[in-house]
Symmetry: C2
Amino acid sequence: MVTDATSAAAGVPRPVRSSRTRPGRRTSMADVARHAGVSSQTVSRVSNGDAAVVESTRRHVLAAMEELGYRPNSAARALKRGEFRTIGVILFTLSTTGNMRTLEAIANSAADEGYAVTLLPVAAPTQDDIRGAFTRLGELAVDAIIVIMEVHLLDTAKVSLPPHIQIVVADSDAGDRYSVVDTDQAGGARTAVRHLLELGHRSVWHLAGPAESFSAQRRADAWRATLEEAGREVPPVLHGDWSAESGYRAGLALAEEADCSAVFAANDQMALGLLRAFHEAGRRVPEDVSVVGFDDTPGSGSFFPPLTTVHQDFASVGRQCVEGVLRQIRNEEAERGTTLVPTRLVVRESTAAAAARRG
Amino acid sequence: MVTDATSAAAGVPRPVRSSRTRPGRRTSMADVARHAGVSSQTVSRVSNGDAAVVESTRRHVLAAMEELGYRPNSAARALKRGEFRTIGVILFTLSTTGNMRTLEAIANSAADEGYAVTLLPVAAPTQDDIRGAFTRLGELAVDAIIVIMEVHLLDTAKVSLPPHIQIVVADSDAGDRYSVVDTDQAGGARTAVRHLLELGHRSVWHLAGPAESFSAQRRADAWRATLEEAGREVPPVLHGDWSAESGYRAGLALAEEADCSAVFAANDQMALGLLRAFHEAGRRVPEDVSVVGFDDTPGSGSFFPPLTTVHQDFASVGRQCVEGVLRQIRNEEAERGTTLVPTRLVVRESTAAAAARRG
DNA sequence: CCTGATTATGTTTACGTAACCATTCTAGCA
DNA sequence: TGCTAGAATGGTTACGTAAACATAATCAGG
């Protein structure tokens, strides 16, 4: 029930302005200091929990802060301290499992260290876009940058990286020029292929990612190398674009290959498409064809059949990106080299022992 | 080979310091001004592309900037201007399709408007965590906040929202207290159920999301209402936790129900689990059972069979969040009310006309 | 009761930028 | 030629914070 028509309308919450504070401005340390009858330096000390402020004073200042609704101004703080406590992340898209999970891990690790994460998406990997992004990053309030993309795209864009900013590159090559954290693509691919060979398959086909992708290349290279080491025939490589749809198309073609009893797909989405194509073509998985994916995306355990796949530890990738970047900030020097994060083969029901040799 | 032990180690790229600049500091406008022989005010004008600076001066200043590697200090800029040009996004997890796609759209829209996006993840939706997140956001360098979570969680956490900061809440209820942008959950669910009824199914079962979720509740409510409006029997509702695994478990139970010919799953992941359970139980989809999902996640078009599902336009949700927040910043006043983003039914192969009435 | 060390608090200043106002210069016109 | 309007540029200052230094208060030991 409305009891008083003249009262200020049940309004949007607004900051309470003490009569001591200037209108139109957020309350500053000076306001709090005046209100509490101390110097602004003492307010600063309380605000940072830093120096020795006697308990009674501290409480008094805290009360004043509370009363005036004081919030530290991070712009002034950053200006004074010379650091933003923020890490910038530049990436093309969040739409891949890997980027998304890596970003999440980065954000969580950064938060643990008291750092915020600023996102800088680049709509499409065109040169102009990348350059624009980096120009903006240079002006942005960040102490460091983590790049989640492939380094050769940086090169083609002739990007001038802000020199004072430390960089870790996830999902890339070029560990000799930047500090790189990446999943052990080759190791994962090798494990997948070995698993299939150990099941008795004569050879393993490969549905690779797009040719431009270094991740795809490394997985394909390791697949080929593993087959060659084992003295097996290397079937022609198929290329998809990471999408389930492209996996489906490749699967329709593979279903025609009578001697194809095992496929290693470069990611789970394409493996999903493969599964559908095989179902539709009447090739049973795993009885007729074994399929292994890569990523271990959520849901891959509920594919039909549940997918054997290479688990990527994106959380670890993200965490190590943040650790690397903070280490570089603290030491004030850039690092080089690549940190490989190991993978793990998750065996489910899409792989089985090879059927008797067929004709 | 190390050729000269006294040389500065083959080093990390470092900013070139002109002899005119003070060591240990990034070049400031004053440095550029000195180097170019103009006032720092003119440098400021060039930097902002703002005022009338004569072309020759402008080029001269730009050259000086280039030479000294000048980058504007965004902390000082923000302090002076009183705005950060940054939007904070708070969310629990990126691990759901919806959050991720919404975030991506927010980041893109914000970038278009010249705003950066700062991420503030909250590890688990406990009260302490939420409160911590908001305290940090209050001090954070943001002009506005977008909350991607359900409002009742804010309430239980007794969060005090920074009063000067504008808020748009995605994925929630409580449009009467905040400005909310959300998918038209009810409309989507209604469309899904109607689609199944129009195919001749006597009724539609529902695999709902977790009971705590408002999205799940609204989808379930609309499902029930649509059945009741059509005068159909309302089967008991099943609950999953959004995961494919929970869908699988529910599917095993549903496969036992002889009169279940159509299921509406509250998201695609659970629908994926349903499909696997039905396959394993020998119930053909769509011949024996029709299945509809919700989300239209990438890959759902390659499920086996391709999934009929309700497409959510996350890009639009994200865009409208940013538009709303910027409108509030510019008008300096909070808004209320809910903006519903329509859905679209994507009919694929997991739904078909009901078989002849069974026993 | 004084001295010197220690602790608590205050004062001054600089961080880099941009708004505001002042000054100089140019060109058009009487 | 002198005058004025307007354009281009410069000088000064404040934004809010925290470092560096200065001062005041307390206390132990002689």
